[in-house]
Amino acid sequence: MEKIIIKGRGVMPGKVEGTAMVCPDSIEGYGGFDPKTGVIIEHNHLHKGKSLKDTIFVLPGSRGSNGWSCFFGAARAAGAGPKALIFNRIDSSSGVAIAISKVPTVVDFSEDQNPCELIKTGDHVIVDGDTGIIEITRK
């Protein structure tokens, strides 16, 4: 089993592990997924039809509507949100999503440690929101 360790800036504390869902082209705001189930509904999305519930959700940043964060907040209230969040680089919409999701989150990686390339969907990932350390295990 291959193991990779990368480090970013931990911004929401806590340590969790789970299965990664990587979205290199992010997800559309306000309507990209169903907050009641976490199922992705965006037309032509890489993971359309799959649920982000309980995943380690990996994105480069936000995309689209300023209503980006509220679907994460609603998913959290419905128990359908991700277990942890990883963003290549923080932006304002993802910042609010992190504040409202309150799950362990790591952001702002160096340019040679791109989580959207180094992590593959299905990898087992441990996220430490205190230290910013991400441990990736590929079967």
Binding site: G29, Y30, I41, H43, N66, G73, A77, S92, A99
Partner: protein
């Protein structure tokens, strides 16, 4: 995060629990971003109404829902004030305030929406219910700090007005409007407003629909976190075309500011637009890129249509005048629902000028307060062929509807509404 003495007073609870909670959330948001201090805001638009995303909790209780979802706390903290120095008005809500049967919306949902708006109004929010706050005087000046829940208003405010705003989110806009502060970060900081990538438009762009397509092509080709600087073959540029372009840039990327050399206030020249940054790359926009984007968003069929919607973002009075002139002495096909979307002052002007009567005589409607996807599935779910004049609407409906989706300019939309059919001649072409 460094606080002023006034901010510390709010944080200590001296100005009430609501302001304290809102500021505490803003401080947490600032910490997550990496901001070291806050800045004052003087304008806000907030997303009020019984929106569908709230339906994960007990949506029938506005105050309880507001605390749980918008403040992120379990106890109920009444939403009963906004910052007195902040001009706050509402963004779109889930129904026209004057009718609901036209949208297949139940009386209960209509009433619930009014209850949410009443809560916001009593807290000091001006009920405007529009995505075009600038059409009724909510216009941030150059350098003015604001927050908004409308992504197109973020790019319009930053780019066309030279004001300062981040894309934030629905919750943070409420927090800011309550405590009057936002993190001093991102677009609120002068040195972050320089261009990062040059976009050379190598094909003539002239019509409003072409500016819409151009915005989406820029957004789709902009690296995350980039600030585009646009130069090239732009013709007959006006505010109406630029607001359409800014709306589609915002919906396809995380862009908050888009400089257009010669047309936006921080881009008098290409050099000024980059503010000393070295360009990280040049993207040349070709005719093929524009055509490929159009092919991707507009169905390649000729079918009957039963739904035509114009006005994303909401129409200005000149847009409505042109539609009324085109519809004079014409009739909309009986099976087609034609809805034009605008804001209250514009609808009133349409009535004063006789445009409303012309449009209604032809069989069309002028609606306010909302737009088709914001109302929801009960409205948009029953139609089979849908025509829009906006990339954003088409993109949104693709996620939510199995109907044929067509993207036309206003004339093509109206021709389809009159004939009840989308034809190949309605498609965008050079």
């Amino acid at each position: 995060v460094k606080l002023t003495s006034y901010e510390q007073e709010i944080f200590d609870g001296n100005h009430g629990k609501l302001k304290q909670t809102a500021l505490s959330n803003i401080i947490d948001y600032a910490r997550i971003l990496g901001a070291e201090e806050l800045c004052e805001i003087t304008k806000a638009t907030v997303y009020c109404g019984a929106h569908s995303y709230l339906d994960v909790v007990n949506i029938k209780n506005p105050q309880e829902t507001f605390s749980k979802i918008n403040l992120g706390v379990d106890e109920v903290i009444p939403f009963d004030e906004t910052d007195s120095d902040c001009f706050t008005q509402s963004c779109v809500c889930v129904c026209d305030m004057n009718c609901h049967e036209e949208f297949n919306v139940t009386k209960e949902k209509y009433q619930l929406n009014l209850d949410y708006l009443k809560m916001a109004s009593e807290a000091g929010v001006i009920i405007a219910n529009t995505c075009t706050p600038y059409l009724n005087g909510w216009i941030p000046a150059m350098g003015e700090h604001f927050v908004t829940t409308e992504s197109g208003v973020t790019t319009i405010g930053n780019s066309l007005f030279g004001a300062r705003c981040n894309a934030d989110g629905i919750e943070a806009a409420f927090w800011s409007s309550i405590c009057g502060r936002t993190p001093k970060w991102g677009m609120h900081v002068e040195e972050n407003r320089g261009g990062t990538h040059l976009f050379v438009v190598d094909t003539p762009v002239e019509t409003k629909q072409e500016f819409d397509i151009l915005g989406a092509v820029i957004g789709k080709n902009l690296p995350y976190g980039g600030v585009p600087v646009v130069v090239g073959d732009l013709k007959r540029v006006n505010f109406d075309k630029l607001r359409q372009m800014m709306t589609s840039v915002a919906i396809t990327s995380n862009c908050e500011l888009c400089h257009i050399v010669g047309y936006t206030p921080e881009a008098l020249t290409q050099e000024i637009a980059f503010k000393g940054n070295e360009s990280k790359g040049t993207i040349t926009i070709t005719d093929k890129m524009m055509k490929d984007l159009y092919m991707d968003i507009c169905d390649d069929t000729e079918n009957e249509v039963d739904f035509v919607s114009i006005g994303c973002p909401h129409l200005d009075i000149n847009n409505i005048k042109e539609i009324a002139e085109y519809l004079k002495d014409k009739k909309i096909c009986g099976k087609v629902h034609l809805g034009l979307w605008t804001s209250y002052p514009i609808k009133h002007m349409a009535e004063v000028n006789g445009y409303l009567e012309t449009i209604e005589s032809a069989g069309g409607y002028i609606f306010t307060d909302s737009c088709p996807p914001t109302i929801g599935p009960e409205y948009i779910g029953k139609y089979h062929g849908m025509v829009f004049d906006s990339y954003k609407m088409c993109k949104n409906l693709r996620n939510k509807s199995k109907a044929d989706i067509y993207f036309g300019d206003v004339k093509a939309c109206l021709d389809a509404a009159i004939s009840g059919k989308w034809e190949v001649d309605h498609r965008w072409k050079k």
